[in-house]
């Protein structure tokens, strides 16, 4: 193998000529070609965010249809099958097509900017991750719009999902779509892990990472471990359904509970994967508006990781009623109670940050701070389900529906909307309208609590989940009507966000580089940032590079204007995993059709599998192979160089 060429990067100061050269190297070509080939993390991040918000709107519409059906007892707006497909598709959409991708979107956009890098470690993999997400989303929705949506809940228990009881294409769409989507999640997670450890600015040692990075990193490591379990489960299900294998079929020695174990050993860590990055947004955003650093940075970072480690040991709390031995239940009960502790660390850190700071009330701040309350309510109701005997009563009632919506809307949607208000100026150069923002916040907050707070009582009064209609036992009807009204108010609030975005894109107040006077690197570059992010690679000396002149650094000061120029090609710097010492010049790939072609090939392959059109499967596989070849074709400009040390 050829020795890498050794070169010491030039260190210098940003200038007009330098920037012109970088623009030439980094800018995506305009027009449709650029649109289809771009590997710019910011472009991909925004696509992720827009696509995920579209799925949020779809999932929300499904929820509203269900809320109409449930607005009173014994209504007949929907047939049982329609209702069952709606609640299953609603869960699938919100959990797989909104909650995780929206966070991937923000992280994709923000990470290189937070980390002082010019792109993610694997830009083409990033593009692939998006295209497959889009393709898998369309694949899953193709089932729904043709009347073949999933109809066994997002958890998809066998045997009801097996062919004997579910002969249509519904479950094949869902099973193959989930395997397909798993590819996107997996490559995305791998990219985040490598990016976090290898492409940080020099000096951004591991204890200076923004908490958002900790959150997404932790979630990504977890995804790499658990997504294979669910992909396998769905693949085995498809084999059972289409080829007569017996993994889950008792008649052939299979086990229905095998599905539940495979699903929840994925499912519960996944729940943390779709909240930890959002908690990171709050940990990073809240202190900016409190005008002080986050209280207990190290504890919060460690508790993020600890939550996930505990998170691997709690999956059986979804299965307390399945007849497992009591000793086992006791262990999982203990783990599920103990996981409260790392969550409590974050809560107390946020409250202390507000208390010891000088809060400036903005819309973003309102979303971030109200999230603390919603998190606590969702957390304590989760703690109730951790106690086995109590859970045997609570589980599968509306109490759990209330719990999970406090968790997912409270800890995902509220921080995400807050993050939109917070980072929109960075992404677009314009503020979102603050006045509209207040309306946005209060309608969402009131609507949400009106819908879901009384739902705890609905559950305590015993109303079971996943029923398309109900009899009016002691006030269920009135409680459900309140919930339905609340859900429409909440939906109206969400519409205000979309309206605000559209309005402010045209006429929002201009935001400068650092409109919130925030401390981290993304605010040191123009809004919106140029394609190359940083004209010179910054050197970081503390957690708050932009606040150092006021609160001091950890000794030396960060250097933002002077740094490695890296303009010999499309380059950024690789640094060591813990201390972030410069290690290697990374040659970044140019825009490429390969990710899109690979996604198209895989789409054809999966459609072929679904319809058992083996010719199409073969063609899809061949296209995918061609794309991989194109991707891996050696080019001289991608040869990595090590800088000379010393």
């Amino acid at each position: 193998m050829m020795q890498p060429q050794v070169r010491t990067p030039t260190v210098g100061i940003d200038g007009v000529e330098h920037e012109a050269r970088l623009h030439e190297l980094w800018d995506t070509s305009p027009g449709w070609k650029g649109f289809l080939t771009t590997v710019d993390h910011k472009e991909i991040g925004i696509r992720y965010i827009i696509t995920a918000f579209v799925f949020l709107a779809l999932g929300g519409t499904e929820a509203l249809l269900m809320r109409l059906q449930l607005a009173g007892p014994n209504l007949t707006l929907l047939t049982p099958e329609q209702y069952n497909q709606l609640f299953s598709t609603h869960g699938m959409t919100m959990i797989f097509l909104y909650a995780s991708p929206i966070l991937s979107g923000f992280s994709n956009y923000l990470w290189p900017l937070l980390l002082g890098s010019r792109d993610m470690a694997f830009p083409r993999l990033n593009a692939l991750s998006y295209w497959i997400y889009l393709a898998a989303g369309l694949f899953l929705y193709a089932g729904f719009v043709t009347g073949n949506g999933p109809n066994d809940g997002w958890f998809n228990y066998v045997p009801y999902a097996s062919r004997d009881f579910n002969p249509g294409l519904n479950e094949d769409f869902y099973a193959l779509g989930m395997v397909f989507l798993g590819i996107s999640t997996t490559v995305g997670a791998a990219n985040f892990v490598v990016t976090a450890f290898r492409t940080r600015a020099p000096g951004m040692s591991i204890n200076r990472l923004p908490i958002l990075v900790w959150g997404t990193l932790t979630a990504s490591v977890a995804n790499l471990i658990v997504v294979p379990a669910v992909s396998l489960a769905f693949f085995l299900l498809w084999m059972d359904r289409q080829f007569g294998t017996h993994f889950f079929d008792t008649a052939g020695g299979g086990q229905p509970l095998l599905w539940q174990h495979l699903f929840w050993i994925f499912g519960h860590p996944w729940v943390y994967a779709i909240v930890l990055p959002a908690m990171g947004m709050v940990s990073d955003g809240l202190p900016v508006f409190c005008r002080r650093p986050l209280v207990g940075y190290s504890l919060v970072a460690l508790s993020t990781v600890a939550t996930m480690i505990f998170g691997f040991g709690v999956w059986v709390h979804h299965m307390f009623a399945t007849g497992l031995p009591g000793l086992g239940l006791a262990f999982f009960s203990g783990a599920s109670i103990a996981i409260v502790v790392p969550s409590a660390v974050a809560v107390f850190a946020w409250i202390a940050t507000i208390r010891l700071g000088r809060p400036v009330i903005t819309t973003a701040f309102l979303f971030f701070s109200s999230m603390i309350l919603l998190f606590v309510i969702g957390g304590v109701s989760g703690f109730m389900t951790a106690s086995v005997p109590v859970d045997l009563q609570l589980t599968d009632t509306y109490f759990v529906v209330a719990h999970l919506h406090y968790v997912l809307i409270g800890i995902n949607v509220f921080p995400v909307v807050g993050a939109t208000y917070f980072w929109f100026p960075k992404m677009t150069g314009r503020f979102l309208d603050e006045k509209l923002g207040r309306w946005n916040f209060w309608t969402m907050f009131i609507g949400f609590n009106l819908a879901f707070l009384p739902m705890h009582l609905t559950g305590l009064l015993g109303m079971p989940r996943r029923v398309y209609t109900y009899a009016d036992y002691g006030g269920w009807g009135a409680l459900n009507l309140i919930t339905s009204i609340g859900s429409f108010v909440f939906a109206a609030g969400a519409m205000l966000l979309f309206f605000n975005v559209i309005k402010s894109l045209k006429s929002g107040a201009i935001a400068g580089k650092n409109p919130w006077d925030a401390p981290t690197l993304e605010w040191s570059v123009p809004s919106p940032p140029p394609a190359y992010n940083f004209a010179v690679i910054p050197t970081v000396a503390s957690r708050h590079p932009l606040w150092e002149n006021r609160i001091g650094g950890d000794g030396a000061l960060s250097s933002l204007d002077r740094g490695m120029m890296l303009d010999h090609g499309k380059e950024t710097i690789a640094t060591s995993a813990l201390d972030a010492e410069p290690d290697m010049v990374l040659e970044m790939p140019h825009d490429s059709f390969a990710p899109l072609i690979l996604a198209v090939g895989l789409s054809a392959l999966f459609v072929g599998l679904l319809l058992k059109m083996w010719m199409l499967t073969g063609i899809g596989g061949a296209i995918a192979a061609f794309a991989i070849l194109l991707w891996l074709w050696p080019t001289t400009d991608l040869r990595e160089r090590e800088p000379a040390h010393g």
């Binding site: 009623a321 409250i351 903005t362 589980t395």
Partner: protein, 320 residues
């Protein structure tokens, strides 16, 4: 039945009663924590003076401030206490409710089916074994062991006033147990999603004094009475060759077991797993148009002539 027949904040038997105080404990701790956090948050926010509102964010100086880690350590220490109590209490309660009784007074085999419950009463004499559907009679004050079977997909057995949930899973036999303190009807409901009519998969546990139970049991053991009118006799033949494809009426040629046993249909309070009250009008509607009443259930519409329907009903109403 009470106003809240599926609520579990009250109980009607020892197994559910063990759990009620623990449920209230975790519920009250949860409410208290939510209130305390709300108060802390509110106090923290209140420190923002109104005039601060108009100030530009960059005019508020950044300060490193105090470390604040004490908030976290004190918060965790305070939180640890109710958590530890909850865990120990959970283990104690789990031990109290988990084990099935060593010497149950009655053993039942309950099978979850799409979308109804089959209930079999074990007996020492094979001829004394009988099955019924969607209505479980038990004597008051007796520990009843319930062996749970899944015939098709997973269902979950839940009588909140008497016991928490236990799943009925194909390929394995789970056990639950129930005991009622006093006579009454206790509502049960399937709580694992099981398909189109999961919503209408209820049952009732009827707790009765010992002598009433014994009377009920000896009645259930009897085969169906021989019809005494011409109308009912015609109804019997119709039931045998139509309904008998799925249903059983003991003592007749209707002998299939994939649908509820009809031998003593008229002793049951509801039809179609709690969907309808069992009265002649509902029964006629159900026999003729079950798909309109419970769409997707496994009983097809019957398209009987008026004569056939009245014959069938005349016979069914003799099944007491």
């Amino acid at each position: 039945m009470s106003d809240w027949p599926l609520s579990y904040l009250t109980s009607a038997g020892p197994r559910a009663r063990e759990v009620v105080p623990l449920t209230w404990y975790v519920l009250l701790v949860s409410i208290a924590v939510s209130l305390v956090i709300s108060a802390l948050l509110w106090r923290a926010l209140r420190r923002t003076r109104p005039e601060d509102q108009s100030i530009e964010i960059r005019d508020v100086p950044i300060e490193r401030g105090t470390s604040g880690v004490r908030w976290i350590s004190i918060g965790l220490m305070v939180s640890a206490v109710p958590l530890a109590v909850a865990f120990v209490w959970t283990l104690l309660t789990l031990a109290a409710i988990a084990g099935p009784p060593a010497h149950p007074g009655l053993v039942l085999d309950v099978t979850g089916r799409q979308w109804w419950w089959q209930v079999e009463y074990a007996a020492s004499q094979p001829s004394d074994v009988f099955a019924t559907a969607n209505e479980i009679h038990i004597p008051v004050g007796v520990q009843v062991l319930v062996r749970l079977h899944g015939a098709d997909v997973i269902h979950s057995f839940w009588v909140p006033q008497l016991s928490g949930k236990t799943d009925a899973i194909p390929g394995q036999t789970n056990t639950s147990w129930i005991q009622a303190d006093k006579p009454g009807r206790y509502l049960g409901q399937c709580t694992e999603f099981c398909g189109a009519q999961h919503a209408h998969m209820q049952f009732e546990v009827v707790a009765e004094p010992r002598e009433d139970f014994d009377r009920w049991e000896s009645l259930q053991r009897q085969p169906a009475a021989v019809p005494s009118t011409a109308e009912a006799s015609r109804g019997l033949s119709l039931v045998e060759y139509r309904c008998g494809l799925c249903h059983r009426v003991r003592g007749t040629a209707a002998g299939a077991v994939s649908a509820p046993d009809l031998t003593h249909l008229m002793t049951r309070r509801t039809l179609a797993a709690g969907t309808l009250l069992n009265n002649p009008g509902n029964l006629a509607g159900w026999v003729q148009n079950p798909q309109n009443i419970k769409p997707g259930n496994l009983m097809p519409n019957q398209f009987l002539s008026a004569q056939q329907l009245s014959d069938a009903l005349a016979y069914l109403e003799t099944l007491k």
